[in-house]
């Protein structure tokens, strides 16, 4: 059905806190839209989108899966994303390429920490959202309390389009405030059967009150609707839906629906809401072109509209290696592409030929011959295109707004069980890192060890498991370590001469480099200020390479060096004895010598930690956090539960869960995520250096 008109396509994501019911909801959607003929359950390990062995065994989503379905003459491309913070990259890249999202929150707990993080991510990419309050069948569920957390935690104008009828095991359906009717599910047939009824008398007053709020809020973005209201004392369903769509896309308010995915109630109206209120590719302002060199990012940037006739532009957002080779998922923003066409990878500056193209249904695929603006497809046969790279037609070689990647904070060393497997392991890890930008791979220059950096223990555990299952490499791993970084705290200029000229062909290179500290997160910046060919042009890349390789192994304790600028200002060369290699060696040595004199320091990841604990244990929890060098940010009570927020160095958080459990008799829980890097205190720096020596 590649003939679907653009305004009948929806590209949406489903995102939420862990276990809120994203996969369960997606599974219902696939059933009601006729894609699957039975409903899979997360606990039975047979859902469509959790198709990896690790997902099915653990009952969690690890990798985002794309599925396509049809509902009322529209095509909906859905990406089910994981909730666990270790796999946040999946949410990040999905939100980046989608036009809208269904945001699920739990009917018992309301907005949870991970919902908050994902909400901010969606804000960053301006993704229009509808909210689904799920699990209303559970004991303790309360629509109104969960609804209140939307305003409290997310500070948004949340606008109910539905109210629940009954709650917990009495939950039978919803009041539709747009059409002022009740929708009741009949039970049986897995929720496929439901009917309209009059609104129950005891809920009529409440429904009227909420409908007035709905009219007030929605019509505030639609003057013609206001006039219709003044004329007739009400507005048509069509007008109201139009106003809700306008406000949803602009973010003036966020519509709220509710139900229970597991008990099969509320999913069909949610699908209707996706069609009615979330934008099609032509309803969104278009993707921004990245700011040019030296230009501030902002609203003046050119936007590319979803036009199938325009020059091609697309963004690679996900890469999978499977038995058929490398699949590159691309969101097409403009133009039309046929298999066999050539495009430019404008991020890396080379040509790519498109081999075969597929539409993906979780782990199944259907071959297609062309893909047009607004759609998502997977390409086979790209040589060197990574996550976040732009593919564009040669006549308009744009680079699209880039993607932000999360920072990996945990390191482990990996070593294959057998010597023969070294090469196989390296290749496999390179492939896995190619799929996952939140996974980094490096070789320690001193020990020769392979070091993997990831988002958390679960993330790395899954990678090691995949290494074994998918690539047949059994590896021994070291204990998880904090991913420290090194940087410098003052500017220093170093000159280094590399000279070996005793007989035979010699080596000669001299470089003079200024090393300067940069602010956090600015990365490594190179500037070449050599004048008059003191270092010939052809050797400059060798200097860059030398620094890049050496910077992976910092001078204090061997951690990657970040946030500094190096400027090559001068040097010397020899007509016969100079070579690229000589300059690379000189640059490496210049780095080692120079950085030592630039007041090097060690940085450690500081985590945002949120602990939910019963009142009676707050004292213990806070005292313990203080001992862990934690800085308490705030405490908040909801009933007899207290939420403590603190910033704590990651180093102090290893094994925290068992400690917290024993401290609170298993009644407290916590989540954490990376916040920023900070210099470590002196005594700890000494400890780290002693260990690495």
């Amino acid at each position: 059905m590649s003939g679907t008109p653009l305004d009948k396509i929806r590209n949406i994501g489903i995102t939420a806190h862990i276990d809120a019911g994203k996969t369960t909801t997606t599974e219902r959607i696939l059933y009601y839209t006729g894609v699957s003929h039975k409903i899979g359950e997360v606990h039975d390990g047979n859902t469509t989108t959790d198709y990896m062995d690790q997902e099915r065994e653990r009952g969690i989503t690890i990798t985002s899966a794309a599925v396509t379905c049809e509902w009322k003459n529209h095509r909906i491309n859905i990406i089910d994303t994981p909730g666990h913070i270790d796999f946040n990259i999946e949410v990040n890249r999905s939100l980046r390429v989608l036009d809208g999202a269904v945001f699920i929150i739990e009917g018992v707990a309301g907005v949870q920490p991970q919902s908050e993080t994902n909400w901010r991510l969606a804000d960053r990419y301006n993704v229009p959202r509808v909210i689904f309050i799920n699990k209303l069948d559970r004991t303790g569920a309360d629509f109104y309390r969960a609804f209140a957390t939307l305003k409290e935690k997310l500070d948004i104008v949340a606008l109910p389009l539905q109210l629940p009828i009954g709650i917990e095991d009495q939950f039978v359906g919803v009041i539709d405030l747009v059409e002022m009717k009740a929708i009741v599910w009949e039970g049986g047939e897995l929720g496929a059967k439901f009917h309209d009824e009059a609104i129950p008398a005891d809920l009529l007053e409440k429904a009227k009150e909420h409908r007035q709020i709905l009219l007030d809020t929605a019509l505030a973005v639609d003057d013609a609707g206001m006039e219709e209201y003044f004329d007739k004392g009400d507005v048509s369903v069509e007008t109201l839906k139009r106003a809700i769509k306008t406000g949803t896309i602009s973010g003036a308010f966020r519509p709220v629906l509710c139900g229970t995915a597991f008990k099969n109630k509320g999913v069909q109206p949610l699908l209707d809401a996706v069609l009615d209120y979330l934008p099609s590719p032509v309803d969104v302002p278009g993707i921004k072109v990245a700011a040019e060199e030296g230009e501030e990012e902002g609203d003046h940037q050119r936007r590319i509209k979803a036009d199938p006739k325009a020059p091609f532009a697309g963004l690679a957002f996900k890469i999978i290696n499977d038995k058929y080779g490398t699949l590159t998922f691309v969101r097409v923003y403009a133009g039309t592409l046929k298999s066999g066409d050539s495009v430019l990878n404008t991020t890396k500056g080379h040509k790519e030929r498109i081999g075969r193209m597929f539409q993906m249904h979780a782990d199944k695929r259907a071959e297609i011959k062309e893909v047009i603006a607004g759609d998502i497809a997977a390409f086979v046969g790209l040589k060197d295109t990574g996550t976040g790279d732009t593919l564009a037609a040669a006549e308009d070689p744009v680079i699209l707004e880039r993607m932000a990647f999360p920072v990996p904070v945990i390191d482990i060393s990996v070593e294959p069980r057998t010597k023969e497997a070294v090469e196989k392991m390296t290749l496999a890890l390179q492939k896995l890192a190619g799929e996952d930008p939140s996974l980094r791979l490096r070789t320690d220059q001193e020990t020769g060890q392979t070091i993997l950096s990831g988002m958390g223990e679960l993330h790395l555990e899954i990678i090691i498991d995949r290494l074994k299952r998918e690539y047949g490499v059994e590896a021994n791993i070291g204990a998880p370590q904090v991913a420290y970084r090194e940087t410098i705290s003052r500017t220093h200029t170093e000159t280094y001469t590399h000279k070996k000229q005793s007989g035979g062909s010699g080596q000669y290179a001299e470089v003079k480099i200024i090393f300067e500290p940069l602010d956090r997160n600015e990365g490594v910046v190179f500037e070449n200020k050599v004048v008059g060919g003191a270092v010939p042009k052809e050797y400059i890349p060798a200097v860059e390479k030398g620094i890049k390789v050496q910077a992976d192994t910092g001078v204090l304790a061997g951690f990657p060096t970040v946030d500094f600028k190096y400027t090559l200002v001068d040097g010397k060369y020899h007509d016969v004895d100079s070579s690229a290699l000589a300059f690379e060696i000189a640059a490496k040595a210049c780095f080692r010598e120079g950085m030592k004199k630039a007041n090097p320091i060690i940085l450690e990841p500081i985590m945002d930690v949120e602990i939910t604990t019963p009142q009676d244990h707050v004292g213990d929890v806070v005292g313990d956090l203080n001992r862990r060098r934690g800085m308490i940010q705030n405490q908040e009570s909801s009933g007899s539960t207290i939420i403590v927020r603190a910033q704590v160095p990651l180093k102090e958080m290893f094994g925290y869960i068992s400690n917290l459990r024993s401290m609170t008799k298993g009644r407290a829980s916590f989540t954490m995520q990376f916040h920023h890097y900070d210099p470590v205190p002196r005594n700890i720096a000494d400890e780290i250096m002693a260990k690495s020596a």
Partner: protein, 100 residues
Amino acid sequence: MRLRWARGRGTIETTTGPRASEWLGLDDAGNPIARVIHLEGPVQTEHGVFRAIALDQEAKLIRLLPLPPADGDWLAVIGGRVVGRAAAPLAAVRRAEAAL
């Protein structure tokens, strides 16, 4: 008392295009007897920076003290007197009608 409401002068720019910033409540003879206006601000004038301002009948700036609550940037005005505030124009219209 129910009035007939019509768009007044002035627009506000929103991400989805211009929107009326004033609604006039007309009596049976078609005379404006109530207004609902959107607060602007901050606005810099020669008399200083005004955080919350509105236009009077002659379209002169009037400064409002104390500042309105964060979610109340629509004012219901009758005869130059603010009789209510609301987050949405329709809700402000009801305030104005209730005050008549």
